[in-house]
């Protein structure tokens, strides 16, 4: 039934002529402008980040559609205004300005890389538009105008390193992408390993375009670690897993990763021979077996029957971000930015697909469940779930209750 409705909605909008900017806005039908609440989205639906951006944009369309089916917010329908930033930083500035100044949306969800967030954040702060960043990242942003709904390293890396040390051994070799997230995550890996009585024998950083890992694989063999920890990011770095398996190393040394399957399609891309046994800890896995998650997945499949997105932490956090905002709007009784922020700061929580998600008023990050899973034949098998983990890294540097005017991306010193 649901499927039928969407088909019809889609046909109708195609017939109307696709002049408006979004599919979702048209799915909601024609509403009076004054009765609408505008909600903005900026995601990389093309370019090299589209693998992460497309599912996020899709899930956001679904979230808005679902809210509208339930009667909208404050008696008004929601209208999504979303832009494709084409994995291009320049367009992030442009569309953020456009959403804030021209479209005058109530809230903006979006941004994938930390770099893109740091482009959007000052623009939206300057033009007083609430911002939700729904991606796992290195932690440390302290800004009352922003809510971060993804996990940070202190929430996930701790559990992952603990698992490695207990099950595989004390010597860890880290490979990390050479940018902010990689550097900081590698530092957390080192800190947690040493706290657990282990040792990081070596940490190598790779620019995001490196595809030749031959020398590295030889170096790892020379160092003989018990575990390889991969903080590699992006399509070029996928070559590492291939070359690693091709050298026959995949059966020799176990591997853990903080990034594998976090936002991309690695899970279905790699063959079982290349990936079986790899472990990761994240805020969400498609395979999390709870009634809420199973129901959510069914609804998503029904809404996108032809192009069902691969659900990762990024898309789940996007959905939960929209729900958190909607609940705060209902609580505040208005979309006014400061009133909504105050509502969020009451420690608001919702039950999302990944479990309970609570806003931490001090940091504007979220307290959420973390799941530990292993890959078996292109699927995650959830080994363990940790309930309501605090964003301890950001909490160590940021207190918006004390300094509400703080506006900084802290580099967390370890």
């Amino acid at each position: 039934m649901n499927k039928m409705m969407n088909r019809r909605g889609f046909l109708k909008n195609a017939a109307l002529g696709a002049t408006a900017l979004t599919t979702a806005s048209m799915l909601t039908g024609v509403a009076e402008a004054a009765d609408e609440i505008l909600i903005g989205g900026i995601h990389d639906e093309s370019g090299f980040l589209d693998i992460a951006g497309q599912p996020m944009a899709q899930v956001m369309r679904f979230a808005v559609h679902e809210l509208n089916e339930k009667g909208g917010l404050l008696g008004k329908q929601l209208k999504l205004v979303d832009y494709d930033s084409q994995s291009n930083m320049q367009l992030y500035t442009q569309y953020a300005q456009q959403l804030a100044l021209k479209d005058k949306v109530a809230v903006v969800h979006g941004g994938i890389t930390s770099a893109s967030r740091e482009v959007i954040r000052p623009v939206l702060r300057r033009f007083k538009t609430l911002y939700f960043y729904n991606t796992l990242y290195e932690g440390g942003v302290c800004d009352r105008n922003e809510i971060s709904t993804g996990t940070t390293p202190a929430q996930t890396v701790d559990k992952l390193v603990d698992y490695c040390l207990k099950n595989w051994g004390k010597k860890i070799y880290t490979l990390a992408a050479d940018y902010n997230y990689g550097q900081i995550t590698a530092a957390w890996v080192k800190k947690f390993t040493e706290e657990g009585g282990g040792e990081v024998v070596q940490t190598d950083f790779f620019p995001l375009d490196v595809t030749n890992f031959g020398p590295t694989i030889s170096k790892i063999q020379a160092a003989k670690p018990d575990v390889v920890m991969s903080v590699l990011v992006g399509s070029a770095h996928l070559s590492f897993y291939r070359q690693w398996a091709a050298a026959g190393m995949q059966k020799e040394i176990p591997m853990a990763s903080t990034t594998y399957g976090a936002g991309g399609n690695e899970v279905i891309l790699m063959t079982p021979e290349e990936s079986n046994g790899l472990v990761n800890a994240l805020g969400y896995f498609q395979e999390v077996d709870t009634p809420e998650n199973n129901a959510w997945r069914k609804k998503i499949e029904a809404f996108f029957p032809d192009k069902t997105p691969l659900l990762t932490e990024l898309s789940c956090a996007t959905y939960e971000g929209v729900l958190l905002w909607a609940k705060a709007v209902e609580m505040a009784g208005t979309t006014d930015r400061m009133k909504v922020i105050e509502a969020l700061e009451t420690g608001l929580s919702i039950d999302g697909p990944s479990g309970k998600v609570t806003i931490d008023p001090k940091t504007h990050h979220v307290i959420r469940n973390v799941h530990l899973a292993v890959i078996e034949d292109r699927k995650w098998k959830v080994l363990n779930t940790f309930n309501q983990v605090q964003p301890a890294d950001t909490q160590a540097v940021c207190d918006l209750e004390k300094n509400p005017n703080d506006n900084k991306h802290y580099i967390i010193k370890l």
Partner: protein, 353 residues
Amino acid sequence: MSLVKGNLGTIVTMVIGLALMFGLPMTLDMFAIMQLTLYVVLSIFAVSLAYIWGYGGIFCFGQASFFGLGGYVFAVSGINMGDTTVPFLLSIIIPGLFAAALGYFMFYGRLTDVYMGVVTLVVSLIMFKLINHTAGPEYTIGEARLGGFNGMPDVPVLNYPFQPGEFMDPVHIFYFAMGLLLAVYLGLKLLQRTKFGRVTVAIRENETRAQLLGYDVRLHKVLVFAIGGAIAGMGGGLYSTYQAFIDPNAFALVMSAQCLIWVMVGGLGTLVGPVIACCVLQYLTVWLGAVEIANNNFVLGVILIVAVLVLPRGLLPSLQDYGLMLWNRVRPKPEGGDTATADAAATRAGAGE
């Protein structure tokens, strides 16, 4: 009278430019003005290459080296100093000096055409790689962290000269950028009227002959290259303050190549053509992102291929040719038949150089 005739193109361009500079903020909203500011900033970058390549005959495939350097110099010094006046000047001076040094290395080594293209390309790639590698906390200059791939956020907004904290509003930033673009244009046009400018053209046309006439070709080319580098650096500095952000992509191959395309599509040997091409192609990119009718790359690719096949000399010179052809056909024949040709030649010389 002859002064007007010889400079007709320049004068017309300046009048139109000034009209746009003061007229646009009256008719458009703030959002549109902010978008236009970006076009103006990139146009300054386009003019930098249009000068060294179109006037100087120096083929630089790595113009983004200076653009990116200007951006980073502004960001680092701006974050450290608070006031943006000196950083703005530094973003012109340092890339200029760097271009002079690189020019010395190349021209005194007698590198020519394609080889020079490769050296400039490689230099921009090295800078891209190295700046990308500065993600670690050890790469900090004063209070500014270089940030590697993530780039540098919090680049200060321009303030009024020597009044830190007094930030310019978006319309004033537009005036400032547009004023700079016009100043650069006029400055380069005037420079071409001097002996220095005539020697530049002589070297472009025939390097050996210029040398035999006793001009120091190598020094001259270094100077032209440095001027171009300084202008590109200024564009980069404005770019980083406009975005309040700078990242290694300012050094990227795409940035250099984009600039090259603006100059070639706009017309090699003109300054206005590349500016028009830059604005049109930029607008297309943004528009394609918003309407999502077809893949962006696909459409731009088709445009470029068509441009090469249909407008081999670039947009502006080709339009001038077509325009002159039409004009000569339409206009009533004056008594003295040769005035028409003389006029046409003057127009071409003025606007087309």
